[in-house]
Subunit: 261 residues, 4 copies
């Protein structure tokens, strides 16, 4: 699927979903720029990936200086990016519909402003040539609260919506340069962290993991949560020729859960 | 339309649209709490309004201390609110799809965090009794970029979307208490400020105001921009029994411009 | 609210919701054209309404000839309409996602083609003058499956969506003439017929009506189903100056149930 | 990308977009069932395709008997389908917002009821086994008027919306069996037929094809119409593992044209 090497930046690379994305992309021949907070984990991941040419860079998206250094490093290494998989840090789940001003300031900083600065630095390293078929693809990983209110993730609703506004704005602003911006909005996904949550909820009522999973997925048309590997395949699709005439989309990856047309 | 006095807070009361809203509501017998930055203008407006019982309070939504004092004043005066018309300050129009981090911090503070703090203070002063038919109504004034990207108002797209996320979250969180939260999203509206813009654009190409207006509204099904007085009637409707079974809605006030279903 | 007499056609006038709409509008001074299948019921309703100038016309929306006669009668009586409240007959509830071709043909005929012919006849009798502030308003009563799939009402999903497409098309086509087309999409509404259903479901599991109602409305933010009287107030609002700058909207009347933004 | 042979039905196979889809899928190793009206064209297409195992069946979706025979033929040949690419015939473009009853009856019959009967026959030949990873994928080709009103294609708006309602209903109804239903909504696509239209519009004003194309695509973020080959790649993606956790989606293939979020 990859002709000449198309380098892709993956943020949150060492997380449950990020790792799956990296393995999928590396397996398909993409050289990667791995970014995450923990250097030891980055090094381990980098070593495990198939393929050559991977690079890792420490990055803390909640830290202005770290973001600046990250951008400088991309430039210093003369890295040209053909793709970005951006995973903005998630807001901590809460049921508070009206957090205080300080909480909002931290949320916007860490989950929107910081990651957007990273994205800007990455866009600066893109050099697409759409006339000759070389298109650059940005995939923003979001959640289904980008399309519908989820009571459980109150503050997340706002940040997901803010990103949809920015993604669409960028799609319109960057389309003429051959830079595409699409969003993949995840429903429940069986990352190690999410599995733990199900396990806890199962334990709390004295049923098995499989029983609890069946209960939680009963109202999902496909009858299942997503697997990180499924997310990874979807991300690769959005980076590929599949999306050559698509931009500004918000694609649900939720087993059909979303009811609005 | 008003049985017992139902007090309504209007922020941005002295602006072009706010003034029209205040006159409409006062004319229908609502006692008002007028909030805006400029005390002289507040006093003038208050004097011009028909009806009794209006109160005005200085409020700068971009200033934490002003917001805190405003909330304390509402409490000190033992004001009970049955309605709020919240007009978050608008982001300055720009075509920059990726403003810097400082610009974003200011925008989120002034156009989201601050106004949300004001709204929280107002909600604290609501005491609805839905079982006995007394419902409290919040109307958030937004713009049509809450439903579709508008290239001209790039940063506004994000803030409008963020507010839609918050409005829906609040609608779900507060519905059981009998507090409704609906959004009215304005298309082009002929406030004095907006008229000036049309005049400038007309002058720039040497045509009349009416010619320019006809051109700008040619792609609007109803063939016109909104009038502040039309906005005011719509706001009064959303505060009235009209919305007794509606919450979490985002209603376009745009002459039919929006093409999505 | 009504200056000169503004005549409004209400179809399905003798049904649970139609009756409430007629009483509300007649009480506000609108002379009505009542249309429904059953002449005896029409006569009774007409006699019960306050105000003068009401007219009733027998109409079977599933019958081409009845529709033609209805249109001819409107013309023969030189009726000018300022408003229409169109209630297309509902598809019979079913869980069949793929009814046979004959079922579809009947559904499209009775629930879309026939009612649209009625609407066309009514539009022929409109003579708005928007420059002088006389606007004609069409309100189409639909259901929330116009905005989200409801498994229980499988075929209804298709018809509701088809109507949204037509309503928006009409809004764009007729806006310049000063004819507005908005849709009010009802969630659960406590019409006599709907109350019976709740009663049956309560009986089936041996609980009271109130208990069953509480269960069914637990996931509705406002904690209740709509009342026909609330629908009637909302319809009157959409016929009034409230909607003078609104057309092509699909407004949910569902207590906040809909989760999509 | 294809493990064991996964047979895919393509309707409208001999059209401009259908042909591109067939070549793409055949090139990737899918054995195909080609369906269209013209036997000679079907035979020619079948001979041109790479790969083995292709079958062609004459089918007129506007003819009840042809549809019945088609279904019987699928069964008689014991064909098992893993995918369907359904292209419902398009409504003839028109600007009439209120066609007559006869026109509607023909439109619903030819563009909805007939194609849905074909789809039902195809679903009867699906035998997915999701537990073992064998999922069946339906892709419905629609247009962007499924998401927004397009004045030029007035009746098309209704039919596209009706299909979105049915597609979502089927996604919910069939998900548990491992059958996915997604819609790909095309914006302007440079099929031979569409190219002719541009040529005509260019000739009419005395400019070149390329000039006219540039004008028409100026408001599309990616600055271009889609190519049939791009549609084909997107269709293949939706049939592939890409969509293993996606169903009920309506994906725009429009170069970013759609402005709603």
């Amino acid at each position: 699927m990859v002709g000449e090497a198309r380098m892709v930046l993956v943020t949150g690379a060492t997380g449950g979903i990020g790792t799956a994305v990296c393995h999928q992309l590396a397996g398909s021949g993409y050289p990667l720029v791995l970014a995450a907070r923990n250097e030891a984990k980055l090094k381990t991941l980098s070593d495990e990936l198939t393929g050559d040419g991977h690079v890792w860079l420490q990055l803390d998206m909640t830290n202005d200086q770290s973001i600046r250094q990250f951008g400088e490093e991309l430039a210093a290494r003369r890295i040209t990016l053909d793709g970005v998989v951006l995973m903005p840090p998630q807001a901590h789940s809460t049921n508070d519909p009206m957090p205080g001003a300080d909480a909002w300031r931290a949320l916007f900083q860490n989950c929107f402003i910081g990651p957007l600065e990273v994205l800007k630095a990455a866009i600066d390293r893109m050099n697409p040539d759409p006339v000759n078929g070389r298109r650059a693809k940005i995939v923003i990983i979001s959640g289904i609260s980008s399309a519908q209110v989820l009571g459980r993730y109150a503050t997340s609703n706002v940040l997901r919506c803010a990103w949809i506004g920015e993604a669409k704005t960028l799609a319109f602003a960057l389309g003429a340069r051959g830079i595409h911006v699409n969003t993949l909005s995840l429903g429940g996904t069986l990352s190690p962290w999410y599995r733990e949550g199900i396990e806890k909820r199962a334990d709390a009522v004295g049923i098995t993991f499989e029983q609890r999973l069946a209960e939680e997925t009963a109202n999902i048309p496909l009858g299942k949560y997503g697997e990180p590997a499924e997310v990874a395949v979807a991300v690769e699709g959005l980076l590929s020729r599949f999306s050559d005439h698509m931009t500004g989309l918000n694609i649900m990856h939720d087993g059909g859960f979303t009811r609005s047309y």
